[in-house]
Amino acid sequence: MQPKLTTGGQALCTPDHSTTGAAEETSIRQLLAHGKSKTALDRAKDLHKALGSAASEALLIDAYAGRIQALLDQNLALEAKSLIDLVRSRYPSAKTRLDALKATSAARAGALDELLAPLADPGLGAEHRAAIEQAVQNKVADLAAIAACPALPADHSLRIAAAALDRAFVAATSGLVTDEEIALPEVSHRSPLGSWKLLVRAIAHFYRGEDDPCRECLGAIKPESVPARLIPAMHSMLDMKPAAPLTAAEAALVSRATESSAALRNELEKLDRAFADDEDEGRTFKLVRLAMQECRRILPDQVETLKRLIYVRGSMNAVDEERMIAALQGPPRQDAAFFRALAHGMEATGADEDLAMACEYWDEFRQRAVREGWFGAKGVEVATLYSHMAGLLRRIPDDELRDLQRESRSNRKLGIEDSYFLFPEKLYERASVLDPHPEGFSQWLSWAEQDSAQRGEDVAKAWHKIRPMDIEPLLYLLQAAERRNAFPSALTYLDKAERIDAVHSVVRASRLRLLAGSALRHLEQKKPHLAAEKLKAIAALPQSKQGDRPAFMAALGYVIALDRADDRAMDEARAEAIRLLGNDIAAGLLVCGISAAAKRRPVELPPVKSLSRAEQSALPAQIARLVALAKDVGIKKFHLPLPHLQEAARQFPRASGSLDIGQLRTLAETALAMGDDEFAYAASGEGLSRGGETEARFLVLRARCLPERQGTRHAICAAAAAELARPHRDMETVGEAVDLVRRALDSEPFTVTLDQAREVVQKEIAASDYPDGSTRGPDYSTLLPNQLCNCPKCRRARGETPTPFDDLDFDDDYLDDEKMEKIFTERVPEGMPPELAQMLFEVLKEGYRNGLSPDEILEELEDMGGLGGSFREKGKKGKRK
């Protein structure tokens, strides 16, 4: 009879048994692999029934094993046990294999006796022993039960190890343990309980605060073992941030074994907000008490730090000190850290009194820090602190600082040395003694020179004495002496500076300038022989041969010869100057300028009118050349005759095309210096039209030469100049321009964009005529920011001409017609036709009666065409303060 194979009642008809069996086996194993153990077992039974081979029996046992494992996984331990017993009885060959499953089943069912009993058998097979030990390692969580298991003899190593581990586990989770208590020699590393040993040690390290060893122990625990179940919770407690979501039991453990700082954080954030919002003090102190209470509970080691922080914050907010100390339950410890924090807090408020207070606290900090061993009493740290304190005092206005110094000294009856921390010079002096560093001296010098020139020189001398090889103090002393016309001293300092750094740019530029200045000074003192010596020294310098400098020497020689009444030398010098400059007009002007600088008798020049047309038109270029030469050799008071300058201004429109950028700039600056704004305006306009990098400089010159009434235009030109100079890193022009804007707008910040700056340049080039009373100038209404206030006060501050209505305060008491007419008559612009004035007055009066605002009245007047540029410039509709 043909065997009948069925699967789930369905017959499998195939003529070739071996082929069919192999295919069916593959199919069954696939079912097992996919966890379909029940179907797999049914089909394995059918196959074994049909084939009855060793292979089919092996497959059947595998299917049984899969089914038993599935039952165990579903916690159906009893069903699994019954099936194991059945299979063992039917298939003795599967005994060893099933022992492992039986051990797992017993472990799962908590039947420790059954699980462990085979271990008492000395003849237990290695495979079975390994299966039991694996089950113990991975499934048994009850150490006490192992320790007390009656199936094993009392002296069995597993019982002894479990008992020792259980004791250590209880000890480690209940209090601090010693290394001996967790040494656990009873537990070998090969024991199935080996991971427990690591867990007990991890817990002990955790409570000791030894987090790294704790992590190491956790890392060594076998991941499949029972102790590994605690790893996520312990990592969560160590890192204080949840990794994977914790189970209920894990979360409960984390919550009980560690105290969360969330409540403290919450209290502190509330307190931060209370300080920031300057809330009611009562509520603030309540929050302080709550925060301190929580901190004492959660972070007792941070109590002192928090006290200090809160106290300082309270001081910055000027809260009641006594109440604060009461809320903190005692003052903070007054150590160096406290005074440092307090000093910082006072610095942060920026108030003058607080800055002085900060210096006092810094001094306390210094004393305590030295006592506490932070640093030595005479080291660089103290010097740095002194410099820092001096820097703080420099932020206090001079008058205020003097008051504070006086007040502090009289209140405490202290001498200057005792209250040195309020005196910048004392602090800088002490800092420089302790740490004679160039930076410290530089700060001291910067402070001293602001105080007075003499003090600056004193500091520079002190610096030079202590650090004779530093060039900075020598250059400072050189320039200070030069300013005082003390040329011999300046030359002495220059000698020293040349020995230190002969190629320093300032040093190299100084000798010619100092010798020239010295020569002029000797002439002024009527000592032409000494001036002649200096001229000889100038002639010996290689740099004297450059550019127009030989012409300067010739002209200087002429003035010296004139003083000595040496006609021959005069003729020679004059001829040389004419040869070098190319014409006698330029030579004469140069001699004239040098003579004026030396305060000698005026040199007569031919009248301007007697000059030929060509000579007249050459004047702008010649004057530019001579002024540039005078600047080059450092002549400060180089004055040229006014008629020649005026003629140069007249000739400028015709000559401007032939002048280079440098000449245009020199002429604009010269014109400004002599007060000829119109000439400066024309020169700056020509300079602007040339474009290039010097646009910014010419825009500054344009701003400076504008009439006062065009204050807004002045500010816009300066702001545009600053913007144009920035990309070229021309910081001198940027500084000057920003300063002009600040002064024009009374410190109001005002900037334009680069595109707007270019637009300003174009408009200024187009505005070729100097603005007189009837000229409005370019329309900058689109550039005017809303922040430019248009009230009369601000407009006056910007140098603009007010309108006759500006001072009428419409919010004042009621104005009757008479009062109004009186005010109007006082302010009506000069030259306004009486009919127009009357018309304006009527409009103003009616507007006032109708309750119009001043701006509305002015707008109405503008609509009528009644207001020209002299009243109100277009576009100035900024908000009124």
């Binding site: 105290e259 972070l299 922080l309 807090g345 640093f375 740290e381 930076e439």
Partner: protein, 95 residues
């Protein structure tokens, strides 16, 4: 201002050798090609601690009065409480 000692992980009493060793450790931890920003911080901290004046300035500015009060909690390990074996066993038995 970040405390350079905190960046290098050295105590306030650390000497030059200790600072240098900490710096080399940190450079290995944050090589410039792999962690340029961290390396920059480490480098700046080392430069600050090497220069006595910069070091002194850093010491003066180490406290920040405007820092949030809650900063005392940052990085602090909360107290660990002994709760006996039971809560621990609950986790072990739970799986």
């Amino acid at each position: 201002m970040t405390d350079p000692r905190e960046v290098l992980g050295v105590s306030s009493s650390a000497g030059e050798e200790e600072i240098r060793a900490a710096y080399l450790r940190k450079v290995k931890e944050y090589p410039p090609d792999q962690a340029p920003e961290e390396f920059e911080k480490v480098r700046n901290a080392f430069e600050t601690l090497r220069d006595p004046r910069k070091r002194a300035l850093a010491m003066l500015h180490a406290s920040d009065p405007g820092a949030p009060l809650a900063s005392v909690v940052d990085g602090r390990v909360p107290r660990r409480l002994f709760v006996g074996p039971q809560p621990w066993r609950e986790v072990l038995k739970a799986k």
